[in-house]
């Protein structure tokens, strides 16, 4: 008699090689996998909750920080793990982020260090200050054979100093050309310098006011943008050696960042609590407004991918914006962090650095729930699947609520409330005025245009 038994060959499920993943037999019969949407929704919800649970944005701080507030941070664009920082007491430091220790430090200036940049070719530090000097520093500690302790910095002779440029006024802001040996400084006038000369090669000033920040475009490398104390943003071209366009806003612009992926777009942080995205070809209106801060935006920086922005604000918080959305996707803060004066993305777009009044340089994750460890392919697939689900179901009320929920400092919250009520009342007032005046006599002002007072060269379109 023949007896039928269930037999299963081990060939079907035992992997041939040990590197091969064992096959997971699965039945594709849709009847066995019902309620697909409900299940995926639940998965998305769980993923969202997990993300919030694992959200730990703060990584650590660099060394012991400075002895005074950190007012400028400069990236070394050719490495991922080296940055420079300058503080209010004139000390500049070069950091190794892997070990989170300082490599070298110099007492560079009397008074504040008002600008700092790492030169792209040799990776030297170039600093400028209120003492009317620009100094070039070597960061290779072998060249000068020792590093100081924090106390000795103030007294020891600076052996790393390579070159000093003397200026006519105190400087505010400095930036280096990406390809050529040129750099530009702000201050009473905006000046273009050649590395090999001791005097500036041209003065690009347009108008008489102070320039507080200057930035070279990273892609279309000959274009400079500057912001000054006359509430203006001015564009310059190095090739034609002249300013080219100027826009005046209602309040002062504190910071500028060029989009590294989109040559003609740049973002600015303004005293009116907002960030703005501009197209340099049409400054008659800004492309986007980044709202959420409740105090002046002190620094703004693009992610190297060009998809995100980080802003540091006077309200002691860091916010991260998606470049094409108007509100922040995340807010970072700690209890001890004071006013933030500089924020930067690292060159691999994974971390964020912030320098603040409380003398520390802090390191944050760009994605709070992200972890840097090596992941198995399966884990990676799972994370990707989760991300896709979250993206898909992000409009569902519960998921939206959970993913948007953040603890914010009570002051920020309250300030936000005050702001909201006041803005509402202003809006209402305006609406009333509009209602009681001749139709069309009080047109609606777009939020993207409202803050602009005018441009020097009128666009053809407008």
């Amino acid at each position: 008699m023949k007896i039928k038994t269930i037999s299963r060959s081990s060939d079907t499920y035992v992997p041939v090689r040990n590197t091969q993943e064992s096959a997971l037999p699965r039945n594709l019969n849709p009847a066995l996998h019902p309620f697909e949407r409900a299940r995926e929704y639940t998965k998305a919800l769980t993923a969202t909750k997990m993300e919030r649970m694992f959200a730990q944005p703060f990584v650590g701080q660099l060394g012991d920080g400075h002895r005074d507030g950190v007012y400028c941070i400069a990236k070394n664009f050719s490495t991922t793990n080296q940055i420079a920082s300058g503080s209010g007491d004139g000390v500049i430091k070069y950091w190794n982020m892997t070990s989170r220790r300082e490599a070298v430090s110099f007492k560079a200036h009397y008074g504040m260090v008002s600008g700092l940049v790492v030169t792209p070719k040799q990776s030297h530090m170039l600093s400028c200050g209120d003492d009317k000097t620009i100094k070039l520093w070597s960061v290779d500690s072998e060249e000068f054979d020792r590093s100081y302790g924090d106390d000795e910095v103030y007294t020891a002779a600076n052996k790393g100093l390579i070159k000093t440029f003397l200026g006519e006024h105190s400087f505010k802001g400095i930036d280096h050309h990406r390809e050529e040996e040129l750099f530009v400084t702000g201050g009473a006038t905006i000046q273009l310098w050649d590395m090999s000369r001791s005097k500036y090669i041209s003065d690009l000033s347009w108008g008489a006011d102070n320039i507080t920040t200057v930035k070279f475009n990273q892609t279309e490398t000959n274009i400079i943008a500057s912001a000054g104390s006359d509430n203006s943003i001015v564009l310059y071209d190095v090739r034609t050696n002249s300013p080219i366009q100027k826009v005046v806003t209602s309040l002062r612009t504190n910071c500028i960042a060029w989009n590294p992926m989109e040559a003609f777009n740049f973002a600015t942080g303004s005293e009116d609590h907002n960030g703005y995205l501009w197209d340099m070809r049409n400054l008659g209106r800004s492309l986007n407004v980044y709202k959420d801060h409740v105090a002046a935006v002190m620094d703004i920086d693009f992610s190297p991918t060009g998809e995100e922005l980080v802003t540091g604000s006077y309200d002691k918080t860091i916010r991260i914006f998606r470049a094409r959305e108007g509100h922040s996707r995340d807010i970072y803060h700690t209890k001890r962090m004071q006013r933030i004066f500089c924020t930067k993305f690292t060159t691999d777009a994974r971390y964020i650095l912030s320098g603040s009044d409380d003398t520390n340089i802090r390191l944050w994750r760009a994605n709070a729930a992200d972890r840097a460890n090596v992941k198995s392919s399966r884990q990676r697939a799972k994370l990707e699947y989760d991300a896709a689900l979250k993206e898909r179901y992000k409009h569902m009320p519960e998921i939206k609520r959970i993913s948007r929920h953040r603890h914010v400092p009570i002051t920020v919250k309250k300030a936000g409330e005050i702001k909201r009520t006041e803005i509402e009342s202003l809006k209402k007032r305006e609406e009333n005025a509009r209602r009681h005046s001749k139709p069309g006599s009080k047109p609606f002002a777009s939020e993207r245009v409202k803050h602009i007072r005018g441009t020097a060269i009128k666009d053809d379109k407008n």
Partner: protein, 914 residues
């Protein structure tokens, strides 16, 4: 004064709220840090110590200070207003202290004045020794005596007086001022300075507005200039400017005052002009008198250059041009940026590494000479320019090098696939070749033949164009020649003696012959442009081919007698139709349509509008067209009076003729009668009782429709154009079936017209009865109403009497009924009078909301989506591995931005710059 005042306050409140927005954080912070002002003050101090310069604020202060100075200079009116607004508002909102120390003394003086005035108004004594402390101030506010208050106008007067007095006394009150400074140093009081700062901002609002105006004016001015310049020519501008510039130069006189000392580079000229003679005298005094400038001799030619544009304007032009250039330059990035934005996946670092990969196809022999001899030869060759490295590159290499990675992959895949297919085919051919069974080969061949026939048969039916194509293809494939591989092999293997093969070969030869003759012979004359004759020609050709096919077939189903007969019949029918069409085209007889009427309406499809794209239902179409034309003509005729009169009879005649005509028409009428009978069936809706009215055929003539249909449509159209003036609605050749129904009706009623009407009435009555019978006992309407009432009641708010019977009552006989009732209200779903279906008679709208479902419902369509359907569609397909294939899953879950850990993401390199 009054409205202006109002306006001002209005503006100031606006200003205040906008200021509050800006300072929201500080306010919140202050509130959070506790109410002690000292804390805040410290905070402010810290700000300064830290070197945090909120420059904006300082700027404002600065501007305020300047305005203040200006105000001091200006007359008293301004002052008045300022005070006025200050006092009128009297608000003590919290604002940050203005710690500006730029112009303290001025401010202090003013403050002093103000304090004095305020105090005077309060009826307090002004004493210099009174240092105004915080509490004092507060108390002062608290203890205002209304009787002591002075009216506003009086206060102004007093103010004026005070001001004058104080101005007079300003000189001698030196220690007074000192005191005030001291005062201010002590003054941590918020209220005073706050209100002051506020007043400043309020009164300053106008000024600031003016400033704003100024700012805008600057641009206006500039833009205005530019506008002018745009209009005028550059030369015009230059001349204009010159004329403007020269005048002042002429009138201007310079005072030369050399104060410099003499040194290596500079000589004091002492005001005297240095002439050429002077200079030459220094070298050679003998010729000094003869020296002259050559240029000055021929004066007219050597004119001074035109005055250049003023630098300001020149710069502006430069900037404008530079901006244009830069814009242009930067716009080159647009495509790259757009591509990146629209990319589904962006992988960073992005700048492609252009390393050339050697593949098997780009194999290169040792290009480097290795041995000495080789080197020598190579040297010689290169010297004599016989070797060119560029030439060595093979074509493939170039092609590959030019392609992108994706393209290359694609191409490689294609090649691989082709190779694979070829290989398989070869294998298969070999295997089949090996089979020795004759049976198998026979079957195989038969199958092939059948396939071929099927293909040809289908071709026969299809259009002429296809046929042409096919013929061309045939010609190309050399089916008519014996040079083909197959034919050769047949001949070679001697299989040509086999009967069937032989037949095949012969057929091939015949075909070739035919084609050749066609090529030589009557090919040219056959072309004609006329539509109808073209159709005919095509048909003739088709016939020919069909005949040949039939001949060729010999055996098989198609070769059988009945099939042939059928073919013949259909051919005849078609020819007949053609004939008729032609007749139509030439003449105008309606008889054709009358004749054709025979087949109308029998096969009508009920209740469906049919769009026929030709081929399949040509006949039906042509019929319908005919029908339509006939109807039109009928209608036309009916307008004629005579026709009208005789119409009835005509119709009767018509039907009579029809009856006599053929069996088919009889059948039709019977069918029509059937339909009429069916009309009385109450279970069918009224409309279905008139079947012909519903079935509307729309003939759509397009490319795909056959020639016959096209021709028919054309004819119909031309016909229509002839009659077309009074009936426009037949454009889409919809058949109006009333005509036929009428005929049917008349036919019915032709026996007894009087009875006919009665009959229908009786029928109607019967229908009603039937309906009643069918729905007997179903009182649907009332039932519905009852249900609705019940629902309304159930979903309404309810009141429940919670009073416990007997509780708190007196017992006994004549007790009073209790007054106080405890009533609990239970919220229902929706109140009675707020229902959505309150005014809707036949509807019950369910207004229950399932709260558990709310969690899964979004209140509105989220932003990027435009409609609910769109959003739901985006959620429909699951992403997970359980529901999709692995590839799809991976594709769907791929993140948009992929960065590589630990690598620098460089700014984009310009792809157009390399």
């Amino acid at each position: 004064m009054q409205p202006r005042n109002k306006k001002q306050t209005n503006k100031s409140t606006k200003k205040r709220s906008s200021k509050k927005i800006l300072d929201a954080f500080q306010i919140a912070e202050r509130a959070e840090n506790g109410s002690d002002e000292s804390d805040y003050g410290n905070d402010d101090d810290l700000e300064v110590v830290d070197g945090v310069l909120n420059a904006n604020r300082f700027l404002k202060d600065g501007s305020r200070d300047t305005t203040r100075i200006r105000k001091d200079d200006s007359n008293d009116k301004f002052e008045d207003e300022e005070l006025d607004s200050d006092e009128a508002l009297g608000s003590d909102d919290d604002y940050d202290i203005l710690n500006s120390k730029f112009s303290q003394t001025i401010r202090d003086k003013k403050k002093k004045q103000k304090v004095n005035e305020r105090k005077r108004r309060r009826g307090e004594q002004v004493s210099d020794e009174d240092s105004a402390s915080d509490e004092d101030d507060e108390e002062g506010y608290a203890s205002i005596d209304e009787s002591q208050l002075v009216s506003l106008s009086e206060a102004w007067d007093m103010d004026d007086r005070d001001l004058k007095e104080s101005q007079k006394a300003a000189g001698k009150d030196a220690n007074d001022g000192k005191d005030v400074v001291f005062d201010d140093a002590w003054e941590t009081e918020e209220s005073a300075s706050d209100s002051e700062s506020e007043s400043e901002s309020e009164s300053g609002s106008e000024e600031e507005d003016e400033e704003e105006d100024d700012e805008e004016d600057i641009f206006k001015h500039e833009s205005g200039d530019e506008y002018d310049e745009d209009d005028l020519d550059l030369s015009n501008t230059v001349s204009h400017l010159k004329s403007q510039l020269k005048k002042p130069e002429a009138s201007k006189r310079r005072l030369l005052a050399e104060t410099r000392e003499e040194n290596e580079f500079v000589l004091p000229s002492g005001g005297a002009r240095l002439s050429l003679n002077d200079m030459i005298a220094a070298v050679d005094p003998s010729v000094s008198k003869d020296a002259f400038l050559i240029d000055s001799q021929d004066g007219d030619k050597s004119k001074a250059l035109a005055t250049p544009l003023p630098k300001r304007i020149q710069d502006r032009h430069d900037r404008k041009v530079a901006y244009e250039i830069t814009k242009e330059e930067v716009s080159k990035w647009e495509d790259t940026v757009k591509a990146n934005r629209q990319a589904e996946v962006l992988k960073f670092p992005m700048n492609p590494t252009s390393s050339h990969r050697d593949t098997a196809t780009t194999f290169r022999g040792g290009s480097e000479p290795q041995t000495d001899l080789e080197k020598k030869i190579h040297n010689v060759l290169t010297e004599s320019a016989l070797v060119d490295d560029k030439k060595e590159a093979t074509f493939e290499e170039i092609a590959v090098a030019k392609m992108s990675l994706e393209d290359m992959k694609k191409r490689t895949n294609e090649l691989r696939l082709m190779r694979e297919l070829m290989f398989r085919d070869e294998k298969r051919a070999k295997r089949i070749k090996k089979i020795k069974s004759k049976q198998f080969h026979k079957i195989k061949k038969k199958e092939r033949l059948r396939n071929q026939e099927a293909v040809e048969g289908s071709d026969m039916e299809s259009d002429g164009e296809d046929h042409d194509l096919k013929r061309a293809r045939e010609r190309m494939t050399l089916k008519h020649k014996t040079q083909s591989q197959w034919a050769k092999s047949m001949i070679k293997s001697g299989l040509s003696k086999d009967a069937s093969n032989r037949g095949e070969l012969e057929e091939m030869l015949r075909q070739g012959e035919k084609l050749r003759s066609k090529q030589l012979g009557y090919e040219d004359g056959e072309q004609s442009d006329d539509g109808l004759s073209d159709v005919e020609n095509e048909y003739a050709k088709d016939n020919e081919e069909a005949d040949e096919n039939i001949k060729k077939l010999g055996k098989g189903v198609l070769g059988m007698d009945f099939m042939r007969n059928a073919e013949e019949r259909s051919k005849q029918a078609n020819l007949q139709e053609l004939e008729e069409l032609r007749r139509l085209e030439n003449g105008n007889d309606l008889d054709a349509f009358e004749d054709l009427n025979s087949s109308v309406n029998v096969t009508k499809n009920q209740g469906r509008r049919v769009y026929t794209p030709g081929a399949a239902s040509t006949r039906a179409d042509s019929n319908s067209v005919n029908q339509a034309t006939r109807d039109e003509v009928e209608e036309d005729e009916s307008t004629n009076l005579v026709n009208k009169l005789s119409k009835k009879f005509d119709v009767v005649d018509n039907t009579a003729v029809k009856q006599s005509k053929s069996k088919q028409t009889e059948k039709e009428t019977i069918a029509a009668e059937d339909v009429a009978e069916e009309e009385s069936n109450p279970w069918l809706s009224e409309k279905s009782a008139e079947p012909t009215q519903k079935s509307q055929k729309v003939v759509i003539v397009d490319k795909s429709s056959s020639k016959l249909a096209k021709a028919a449509a054309k004819i119909a159209k031309s016909k229509k154009r002839k009659h077309g003036s009074n009936n426009n609605d037949d454009e889409d050749s919809i058949i109006d079936m009333d005509g036929t129904m009428k005929i049917v009706d008349h036919h019915q009623g032709s026996d007894s017209e009087v009875d006919g009407d009665d009959n229908t009435e009786v029928k109607m009555f019967r229908q009603k009865d039937l309906i009643k019978q069918a729905f007997a006992g179903d009182d649907v309407v009332q039932e519905f109403e009852i249900e609705k009432k019940r629902v309304v009641r159930d979903e309404d708010d309810k009141e429940e009497d919670m009073t416990l019977p007997g509780w708190g009552d007196w017992a006994g006989g004549n007790k009073k009924s209790k007054k106080r009732k405890v009533v609990r209200k239970i919220d229902g779903v929706v109140q009675k009078d707020k229902r959505k279906d309150k005014n809707l008679k036949n509807v019950i709208i369910n207004e229950k909301v399932n709260k558990k479902n709310l969690k899964y419902q979004s209140s509105a369509v989220p932003f990027p989506f435009e409609s609910r359907e769109q959003y739901e569609r985006s959620l429909r397909m699951p992403v997970g591995q359980e529901w999709t294939s692995r590839e799809t899953h991976q594709r769907l879950t791929m993140p948009r931005i992929i960065t590589k850990q630990g690598t620098v993401i460089d700014p984009l390199n310009a792809p157009f710059k390399s």
